[in-house]
Subunit: 215 residues, 4 copies
């Protein structure tokens, strides 16, 4: 995944999957949109701010995307696709349920390192997409929920997790805990490494509970 930390980037051709544009410049434009949407919210952001970040004129943006709304959809898409991919890979692999949860937690936090803006926009702004694209995007997030819930269910069935854990609610709790990090990560000095470790511990404990002792 290309480094998006800097405002401007250079080589390492962005591996954009869908039609986000095959050109390098398209990636930069989307990065700028993601940053501005993340900072001001979709409705609070102006195309002018995006253009400023890129050093081009406002009108020039429309060479890259047909509307602000579509830019939002593209950003949201980028923000969630990989999550699902990675979650599915982990879930369908081998290992105990606890190990899978640990891997899922780590994988879920990782993108905050270099695509934090995309993640934030997906989390907070997808709600403002028009119905059609919202549905399109919702599929991915529901997919993630389903994958996690399945792992938890499996852990319960196998006796790894507490029998009274509700997989659906536990999934939402877990995701809430993880997604909230995006809101404060970067303002705190704690490293993603530390956070991941702590959150893995909390998650496993929460699910395994008293019986976890024997693990």
């Amino acid at each position: 995944m290309p480094d998006r930390a800097a405002t401007q980037q250079t080589n390492k051709a962005p591996v954009r999957r869908k039609g986000a544009g095959r050109h390098r410049r398209s990636g930069e434009i989307l990065d700028a949109a993601a940053r501005v949407f993340a900072q001001h919210g979709y409705h609070g952001a102006t195309t002018q701010q995006i253009a400023d970040l890129l050093g081009i004129r406002q009108a020039s943006l429309y060479y890259y995307f047909p509307s602000k709304e579509v830019a939002l959809e593209l950003v949201c898409m980028q923000g969630v696709e990989d999550f699902h991919e990675r979650a599915r890979a982990i879930a369908s692999g081998t290992g105990s349920a606890a190990e899978k949860i640990a891997a899922l937690v780590r994988a879920h936090l990782m993108p905050l390192l270099d695509t934090a803006d995309y993640v934030r926009v997906f989390l907070n702004e997808r709600q403002y997409l028009p119905h059609a694209s919202r549905r399109r995007i919702a599929k991915w997030s529901r997919g993630i929920e389903r994958v996690i819930a399945a792992v938890i269910k499996d852990g319960v069935r196998r006796g790894e997790f507490r029998p009274d854990v509700d997989p659906r609610l536990a999934t939402l709790a877990l995701l809430g805990m993880l997604n909230a990090v995006s809101a404060w990560y970067g303002k705190e000095s704690t490293s993603l490494e530390r956070i991941s470790a702590e959150y893995v511990g909390l998650a496993i404990s929460a699910l395994a509970g008293p019986k976890a002792r024997g693990r």
Copy 2:
């Protein structure tokens, strides 16, 4: 309601302080603002939508608050003040750390029953307040964090919770888990009762971990 600039409007518009507010109408206006802000986001909301909800003309809103921004601040204030109050009361009460955490979880979810809009606005829109009011509001939320962290720290010290729990991170995790509920509560059919019970279980397990067995 904060005074307008001295040269402006001596009209003593109805004052709405904490609680239900002396003047019923002011409360209704704020409720409408909260609802619209919650639904569309601060920047996506229009004062026209608020007025429509009340069946009054848009200009009439300005009899009750001097600006959309101040309305946001008032809503945010309402959305957080009580949290802090309740948290402090619980924390300074008697009982084990686990019991306090359980009570805190329940207390934190409770407002979703009848002031969900205020809570949502506080969580998602306070970031768009002007610096001054954001700081004012931040005090309350930092207060809540500190109260919870103190309870967790105490639990660790007393041996109730896992020794390797980081109170600060655990607090953020717990709040993330709880606050996320506001995003989906109402769309799911699960009752607050069920959610609370499950989340109490998860929280205690997460903190107490394997050692919790003896509890």
Copy 3:
């Protein structure tokens, strides 16, 4: 003419001529309007500012005048009526043309002492009156011009003033010089006494010119 220097006044029943209201309070309300109009201009002034100055509510103003526009007309009227009266008295009196000009200058500057606001509003804001009242008011000012022009013309005819003085233009010049004082009087520390003396000298010299020597 009642003292209007202070923001609030007391006795000395205002000798309002026209229908401005026979009550004392009416005078105070008009004083406030004059002050606010003078300070902010008619269009820049708000009824709220007038109300603030009086310590009453905006709506209460409408007990005293039916509209902002009428208030302006009343203020303008007060600002000019006396001028004409006094000018006519002086012109129809006895004395040389020069003596009359001297008296006219003094009389014209005098009102700046305690009805400066009314004068300023008349000078600068009467142009914004609706056609009908503007015409009504214009009569008075044209009257003043005519009176002065007549005195000058007489002075020329009598040989007191330079033969090449154009009475109409000289009148406009004189009035321009005098009226401009209202713009800076009060910001300068010079007393009206000093100003009057100097301006009498300038006016007489301008009109009498080289021949004035023998006077």
Copy 4:
């Protein structure tokens, strides 16, 4: 045109500096603003009226200036800059004090021929500028006053003018007389030529007084 706030509008809108301005359109827009401000006063004027005069949509104005207030400042600036320049040139030239006064009077009235709107706006509306720009503009007008006062003082010292003339007050009187012309010039049928001649005569006589005979 002053830069907009950094975060705003990188659009390099046409800049109009002194003189005709590089971009013709900017000049036309400012002319329209000057005319409307002159006619209705700053507060009484609407941006719609300016747009109507130009045959463009109201929103389009904001492509040329960032606010009505800035438009006022630009107009005021145009209205006064040249005055000062010309006055200084005349004062620092050669000739008797009387000759200089004559030249100053003529130069002061000249702009009424083709930039009357700018002059009127400067004279009557600059008071409504925000503090910062008012100060900026005040420098020019104070400069003009100082130049004239110096010439008068010099004339007194040289014995050309009456010894009892107060340079400061005489300057204010002279400027009042001259500036007042802007209020009625165009409504009267008198030519600027006639007015100038008459006003030169009045001014010289006023200052030189009885002794002027020998000139």
